[in-house]
Amino acid sequence: MYLRVSSKGVYMELFTLIICGGLALGTSLMVVFARNTVHSALWMIASFFFTAVIFLLLRVQFIAILIIIVYAGAIMMFILYAIMLLNVRISDSAKSGMKISKITGVVLLLLLLPVLVLIGMDQVIPAVKGDVTLQVMEKFGQIPVLSRFLFSEYLLPFEVVSLLLTAGIIGAVFLAKRR
């Protein structure tokens, strides 16, 4: 157990959750609202960090680490690279031409939100539960458990994903090379 449940700790998790959750949301909002593109990228990295904490709270440490390594480490580097390559500093200099549809879209989203939240709050998970409990994960370690499933049941998607990544590399190289 990485976080002990003590009489003080019962609320520790909740507290951490709310703080980190709020910060994750806040930084995401800053990504959306920042005027400078580089600032948006930086806020994004912060958001990933807080999201990783949330994953930790959910006891999937492996995924948390992966978030930092893959998302914050690799993908954000890509994006920063692209920002600098494309010399984009100030975005949205000209007036937007689709104001009305964008406002409509945001309104729709604001309608979507309660729907999702309500659905989320209403969930009753069925009684049938699998056998990979927290204790199992702790006993064997997360990576062994995951890898056991990854290389047996999910072997095909695994291989396909590798193909996908290869295709992605080839595509990227081909698209970006100069004639």
Binding site: G21, I79, L86, S96, L110, G120, I125, K129, A172, A176
Partner: protein
């Protein structure tokens, strides 16, 4: 049943909506791409919650795959942005509206 499950799910929903709002509002292609990543993060949280709640490992595997796909998507997408910039000198997606009537 995960503790405070509803908070996790509400968080997931909020992240998704924020990401979607950014994706449809901003005009810079790279910012749109980043907002899509935010949406994917929100979805990841929901998957993990449900995976934990049913005590199975399916959701976590799915998250792994989502991340792999996001990486590939980043590579190809940014390559396309580079091409777009080379062609027209801008990556304002409102300028790329030729596939219409």
């Amino acid at each position: 049943m995960v503790e405070h499950q509803s908070i996790y799910l509400a968080l997931s929903a909020l992240l998704f909506v924020i990401g979607a709002a950014g994706a449809i509002t901003r005009r810079n292609a790279i910012i749109v791409f980043m907002c899509i990543e935010i949406m994917l993060i929100g979805v990841n949280i929901a998957f993990i919650v449900f995976s934990r709640a049913t005590q199975s490992v399916d959701g976590i595997i799915t998250v792994l795959f989502i991340m792999a796909v996001a990486a590939a998507e980043a590579a190809v997408g940014l390559a396309i942005f580079v091409l777009m910039f080379r062609k027209t000198g801008t990556i304002n997606i409102e300028k790329f509206n030729l596939m219409k009537w």
